[in-house]
Amino acid sequence: MNESSATHTQEVCSVVVGDTLYGIPIAHVLEILGKPATQPVPLAPYFVGGLVHYRGEVLTAVSLRRLLGMEPAKTPEDVLVFESADGLFGLFVDSVGEVLHVSDTDHEPNPATLEARRQALFDGAWKLKDRLLVSLAPERLDPMRLAGAFPA
């Protein structure tokens, strides 16, 4: 990584879902819950992975796998906690990796060839040395917004 670059760099939390590496600006992540107990919600919109317990609150957690139309995870998932206008919410991911420093100069917008749903969810990607880090913006994952954007 070219940290020497004079341009703006930021810290992102890397998460893995399937074979893809995603990055979420660390400033937005309230907390990471390691493999918490979850409670499925029958009849919930398809993108809701279930409920998780976070500091006395019951959070609705969005499943990135379900959102992307992938198979359900076979092992327990980690949850990232975010804050939205409607309150706190969670995001199920396969696993949370290390914190990476990325520079704005390495960021590229979504390619035009990307499928429409992913266009709406992804915020471009950072070019790492050997792979791509897909940028996720938490405000696009807010369940209220998803309910409006992707009705079942």
């Binding site: 409670q39 919600v41 009849l43 409920l51 317990h53 500091r55 006395g56 209220m144």
Partner: protein
């Protein structure tokens, strides 16, 4: 809206509430100078603050009111009903403007109605011509007001300023009025005001125009001192913050539970764990208390309501209120506001008769509506009692048939109590004509729905010629509710206990035979009546279970809809803390929230009313089935038990609860076997004495059925509880007399246990005298 304005709105609303109460009191005690001073103070505070904030319309209105009140306070004018009506409508006007500020941020243009209001108040002042001369000219107010800078220019004042009863600097707006206008309670604050006009928060012009005030009367000083004392010891707290605290306490409770489960070799750790346990319990109680408010917050508006209604209906009515200090969770208090208002309207309009009718019936011309609040167990009861004519059973019966709420034939079979329940059906009204007060057929059903929504119950009692009583039974708090945890396809769900009436277990072999089908509709025959069934797994589109596995039916009664909810199994009842769900999940409709159980697992809380509606469960008049059966002497329900080696029956309505206890807990008081139970002594049946002397295995358990016998509770030791079933009354051949002490259960003659045969404790002769504590009759649900 800035903080200052928000605080002003809150304070003004409270002031107006206080004033309204005082004004209606004034009507009964017209000469009460303390009341007058209190009202004057409230108006004065509002006027002062409005000038300070630049709300000229409010200022003009309150100024006119203040002038009139000044005269009243100084005894230059007597408080006639006309004046009180005038002042009350002034308050409505003020409320309207406050509302507009709250919603739009601006007070709106003053209109002709304002002018008319001011003129009305001025005319009232002239009621006594000799005083009229002393009046200050109200027009000056409007001149002074625009001179004030508009709000945005003003730097945000420090909060402290606002919480003072009066930002005195604001006084500058109106010209100094006649000396008597200076309210006595204000005077105490005069001195701090003059040396510190706090120009940082006040526009210079306003500060400069501060009028010098005459010296105070001593009486005023005392009052001011007490009122500021209360202000110092209380604090306004955002409800959100309290909710957050409640959540965190819930979290702490869970963490505590986990810590207590962690076994540690260190004895000191166990001790610490117990301390933590105690502190957590205390903390939880304190936070709950912080959310409590006295019911007077809601009651306070009723004197005005009753007064206005009574005037409009030409009735004479006195409102008596009792137990105003009884406290209730804030959100519940809000929720009962409308149902109570409705009930009081009903009492005034339908309950209390016209004075002439009352006199003819030998009653005083003045009717009494009594509003009473008190604690009962974990509930608060609010009663609306009127000494009117009572409800006419025949009229209700006739109207219910006319409005096709029940079939004619059924109406004829119903008893008094059942008929009374009909008033809660939607669309019911006995009013001959629709009045502005009531008679539109929306009323009691709304009362019931609203009260049930918060887990409460409504009950009505009526005595012909003597009046009626409406009783609202409200849980103390919404945040924590008792619930039964049920399981469906491996998941936990919580069913609020308030909706639960009974539970039925079907074993694997029974599911096919006991669940009957009418086309697609599944039904269960409960004591001869068909009950619609809703399968939770199918409703929630979970994986569907096979038909030959055992299941449980939770029989629910929600908003008058009665049905059985079929689940895989039952877990323990638990007191659960209700957590709200995100909007996307609320929309599903079947869930009232979520909760975290004692074992750390989560559960969704079911909404029995919404499930009933979704499944098209109709409103049933069978909703009151329980009552019918209770009254029906020929057929009663019994708890069938095995005592010793024979079967016996206990009338179900006497059974309070069933407990498993170690035999060693049974003790002897005198010659009688007793059980210490919930801090009181429970007399037991004779057979229990055998356990004391047996002394075999100290861990052996026995079952005690706690029963109600008149006002006391007694315990029956039984070896097994077998069933609940309906029994038929037997008659002696020939005489046709009802046989006592036996009943026919499952085609077998079974003896009914006589609870009276268990002697009361005061009969204990030998040994120490035993105090039989008054055993609480209110079992906690």
């Amino acid at each position: 809206m800035d903080d200052l304005t928000r605080e002003f709105l809150l304070e003004s609303q409270e002031g107006l509430d206080r004033m309204e109460r005082a004004l209606t009191d004034l009507e009964t005690r017209p000469g009460d100078t303390e009341l007058l001073a209190d009202i004057f103070r409230s108006v004065h505070t509002i006027k002062g603050t409005t000038g300070f904030l630049g709300f000229s319309r409010l200022e003009a209105l309150s100024h006119a009111g203040e002038n009139l009140l000044g005269l009243l306070r100084d005894g230059k004018l007597a408080a006639t009903p006309a004046i009180i009506s005038g002042l009350l409508s002034l308050m409505d006007r003020l409320r309207g403007v406050l509302h507009s500020i709250e919603t739009t941020g601006a007070e709106g243009e003053s209109d002709a109605q304002d002018a008319a209001m001011i003129e009305r108040l001025e005319r009232l002042q002239l009621g006594d011509a000799s005083i009229a001369v002393a009046e200050p000219v109200p027009q000056e107010v409007s001149v002074a007001a625009p001179a004030h800078p508009i709000r945005p220019h003003k730097p945000r004042a420090p909060r402290r300023r606002v919480t003072h009863p009066l930002p005195d600097g604001a006084e500058g707006a109106p010209p100094p009025a006649s000396p008597e206008e200076a309210g006595p309670p204000r005077e105490a604050e005069e001195s701090p005001r003059e040396p510190a006009p706090e120009p940082r928060s006040l526009p210079a012009a306003a500060a400069a125009s501060l009028p010098a005030r005459p010296a105070s009367e001593p009486a005023g000083e005392v009052q001011a001192a007490t009122s500021s004392g209360t202000a110092d010891s209380t604090l306004r707290v955002d409800v959100e913050l309290l909710n957050r605290m409640m959540n965190l306490v819930g979290e702490l409770v869970l963490t505590r539970n986990q810590i207590l489960q962690t076994t540690s070799a260190d004895p000191g750790f166990a001790l610490l764990g117990r301390r933590l346990d105690m502190v957590t319990a205390d903390l939880r109680e304190s936070v709950m208390k912080a959310r409590m408010q006295p019911v007077s917050h809601v009651f306070s508006r009723f004197p005005r309501l009753v007064r206005d209604l009574a005037l409009g209906l030409d009735k004479k009515i006195r409102l008596e209120m009792e137990g105003q200090e009884t406290e209730l969770d804030k959100s519940l208090l809000e929720a009962i506001r409308d149902p109570l208002t409705h009930s009081i309207r009903n009492a005034v309009d339908h309950g209390i008769e016209l004075p002439a009718v009352r006199l003819a019936a030998g009653k005083p011309a003045e009717g009494v509506v009594r509003l009473r609040a008190y604690h009962e167990g974990s509930h608060v009861i609010v009663e609306v009692h009127d000494d009117g004519a009572g409800m006419s059973i025949e009229k209700i019966r006739r109207k219910a048939v006319e409005r096709q709420l029940i079939p004619q034939q059924r109406a004829e079979q119903m008893n008094e109590r059942e008929i009374l329940q009909l008033i809660f059906l939607p669309g019911f009204s006995t009013a001959e004509a629709v009045t502005s007060v009531s008679g539109r057929g929306v009323g009691m059903d709304v009362v019931r729905t609203n009260v049930e929504k918060i887990g409460g119950k409504v009950d009505v009692e009526s005595h012909a010629g003597k009046g009626s009583i409406l009783r609202l039974r409200i849980p103390l708090t919404l945040a924590i509710i008792p619930a039964l945890i049920v399981r469906s396809r491996g998941q936990n769900f919580a069913v609020p206990q308030t909706a639960l009436t009974e539970l039925v277990h079907l074993s694997a072999g029974e599911t096919d035979s006991r669940i009957e089908r009418l086309e697609n509709a599944a039904l269960y025959r409960l004591r001869g009546r068909l009950l619609p069934l809703v399968f939770l797994d199918r409703l929630l589109q979970q994986s569907v279970r096979e038909s030959h596995v055992p299941c449980d039916i939770a029989i629910l009664n929600a908003d008058g809809r009665r049905y059985g909810l079929v689940v895989d199994g039952l877990a323990d009842p638990e007191e659960i803390v209700v957590k709200p769900l995100a909007a996307v999940l609320r929309e599903i409709g079947f869930y009232a929230g979520a909760t975290i159980l004692g074992n750390g697992e989560m559960a969704l809380i079911l909404n029995p009313g919404a499930i009933a509606q979704n499944a098209n469960v109709g409103l049933s008049s069978e909703g009151e089935e329980g009552l019918t059966e209770e009254k029906n002497a020929a057929r009663r329900d019994y708890l069938v038990v095995e005592a010793g080696s024979h079967r016996a029956a206990l009338p179900l309505e006497t059974v309070v609860r069933i407990e498993r206890i170690p035999r060693s807990r049974i003790e002897r008081a005198g010659s009688r076997p007793v059980l210490r139970f919930e801090g009181a002594l429970l007399p037991l049946d004779d057979a229990a004495a055998d356990f004391i002397d047996a002394g075999d295995d100290p861990d052996a358990q026995t079952t005690v059925v706690v029963c109600r016998d008149g006002r006391r509770h007694v315990g029956m030791t039984v070896s097994q509880v077998l069933d609940v079933t309906g029994g038929s009354q037997l008659q002696e051949a020939g005489s046709g007399l009802a046989a006592e002490g036996i009943t026919l259960l499952h085609e077998k003659v079974t003896s009914i246990v006589s609870l009276a045969s268990i002697p009361p404790l005061e009969n204990v002769r030998d040994g120490e005298p035993v105090m039989e504590s008054a055993f609480s009759l209110e079992e906690e649900q």
